[in-house]
């Protein structure tokens, strides 16, 4: 049986100690490394907190490729990438379906890597 508190709770506590107790005392030339460490911990905490997101990606890949997606998912992504390069998704409904999948996948990746960027980007009018 797993000992609690486990990975996520420990990382959260470690990050709080780093941010609240250590970083304020650091000389300026060491702050950047410590802030990077805090950011790495935040990414790890989000990855541990979110439900496994590959189910959605797997379903969408199967629909796009017309065949069950591989496990691990990388092989299906290689197939999709090769088909994109061949031009199979350049137009019409194939293009719309691909863009829907890529946007959803990018949102899922952003939720871990950088949730602040989840706001829709503003393009110049």
């Amino acid at each position: 049986m797993k000992v609690e508190p486990g990975a996520r709770e420990l990382l959260e506590a470690a990050r709080a100690a780093l941010v609240n107790e250590v970083i304020p005392l650091l000389p300026a030339d060491k702050r950047y490394a410590a802030l990077m460490a805090a950011n790495a911990m935040a990414i790890s905490i989000r990855e541990l907190s979110l439900p496994a997101t590959e189910a959605g990606e797997r379903g969408r890949l199967a629909a796009l490729l017309g065949q069950p997606a591989s496990d691990p998912i990388a092989e299906a992504n290689r197939t999709l990438a090769a088909r994109i390069r061949e031009g199979a998704f350049d137009q019409g409904s194939a293009r719309a379906a691909l863009l829907g999948h890529l946007e959803a996948t990018t949102r899922e990746r952003l939720a871990v890597s950088n949730p602040r960027a989840l706001r829709p980007p503003q393009e110049k009018p």
């Binding site: 490394a33 990077m36 460490a37 950011n39 790495a40 990414i43 990388a74 992504n77 290689r78 999709l80 990438a81 090769a82 994109i84 390069r85 031009g87 998704f89 350049d90 691909l98 863009l99 999948h101 890529l102 946007e103 996948t105 990018t106 949102r107 990746r109 952003l110 871990v112 890597s113 950088n114 960027a117 829709p120 980007p121 503003q122 393009e123 110049k124």
Partner: protein
């Protein structure tokens, strides 16, 4: 070596690069033709590829007698194959300085084979930090003016057209810069994919879009290839010098424009298209006023997509250097987490356009 001996040869090791410092003193004394002492030696924030060292040099006699503030640009331990050697970078700096581009004046190249090659350039005052330049209006009181200066300076660079005898090491200019970029980035993704057993469908989509939309090429010019906020100095609100020329090469001049305008280089101010500093209009107007091609905002979209693709590929390559164990670094590891944001930009820019 017949460099004159000088008092600092007896200085105790202060842990700040004693041996490189002594070697630099000797080589610079030869280059200056007079006894020379480095009175200070301070590492500036550099990349993983190059080290920049600020020095104060006192030259006793000869044509360069006097006290000088220089920066020495030296290879770090982990040079990357795609970047230029110090010898080549020095040749580039001389060519662009002669063309009137704002750069630190290149002074002496020191390459004796007895250690890393380096060159000395005149130290230029100013701030490079992107988050400060984009946030702090006291550093940039007149943003439209700085945006125009950045455009004008890029136009002066883009007057340099191939062939240039002193830049022969750059190889042949591509006939079609956009198509060359697409082929280059695809090759980069394939190499990474073979190592990792992965693929990046959003980046493939961006590349397929760029392959379909490639514009009629402009004649190749000398490109900086990292012309962006963070790589130039601003002093008293004015552009004083563009740094970091290690990626320079021939290509379509709009590639540099797209890199400068891309959202990924706007730091604290994504609403200001020109590097978080000012508007695209002012930047492009400054570019055209100095003889650069007239380029519309809509025309830059293509090159902004290419810019995001290139940065995504570089980010994946940097993360792979950590992942493979060749260079363990938290900073390199975290770079991979920039990629989803770049993918989002590529999707947003391409979605509204067939």
């Amino acid at each position: 070596m017949n460099a004159p001996l000088h008092p600092s040869a007896n200085r105790p090791d202060d842990g700040s690069g004693h041996e490189p410092r002594l070697r630099a003193e000797g080589l610079l004394a030869l280059a200056c033709g007079g006894p020379l002492e480095l009175e200070s030696w301070e590492r500036l924030s550099g990349g993983a590829i190059q080290e920049n060292i600020a020095v104060e040099a006192r030259v006793a006699t000869g044509p360069h007698a006097g006290k000088h503030a220089w920066v020495l640009r030296m290879d770090a331990q982990s040079a990357v194959a795609v970047s230029l050697s110090r010898e080549s970078e020095f040749a580039i700096l001389r060519a662009v300085h002669a063309a009137g581009v704002l750069v630190p004046e290149p002074l002496f190249l020191c390459a004796d084979g007895g250690g890393p090659s380096f060159f000395a350039m005149r130290r230029v005052p100013g701030v490079t930090a992107g988050h400060r330049l984009t946030k702090d209006d006291t550093l940039v009181p007149d943003r439209p003016r700085l945006a125009r200066e950045l455009g004008a300076n890029l136009a002066r660079l883009h007057r340099i057209a191939p062939p240039v005898a002193s830049l022969a090491f750059l190889g042949d200019a591509p006939a079609d810069g956009a198509k060359a970029c697409v082929a280059d980035y695809r090759r980069g993704l394939d190499e990474l994919g073979a190592v990792r057993g992965e693929a990046w469908p959003a980046l493939e989509w961006g590349l397929a879009w760029c392959a379909r939309h490639a514009p009629a090429p402009l004649h190749s010019r000398l490109l900086h290839r990292d012309y962006r906020t963070g790589n130039y100095l601003v002093h008293e609100g004015r552009l004083t010098a563009v740094l970091d020329w290690e990626f320079a090469g021939w290509g379509d001049p709009r590639e540099d424009i797209g890199w400068m305008l891309a959202r990924c280089w706007r730091f604290a101010r994504p609403d200001r298209e020109a590097g978080g500093i000012g508007s695209a209009e002012d930047f492009l107007a400054g570019y055209a006023a100095e003889g650069g091609a007239g380029v519309s905002w809509e025309e830059t979209i293509y090159w902004q997509v290419l810019a995001h693709l290139r940065w995504a590929l570089i980010a994946l390559q940097q993360a792979e250097r950590h992942r493979s164990g060749s260079q363990a670094s938290l900073e390199l590891a975290l770079t991979a987490h920039i990629v989803p944001e770049l993918e989002g930009e590529i999707l947003a820019l391409t979605k509204a356009r067939p």
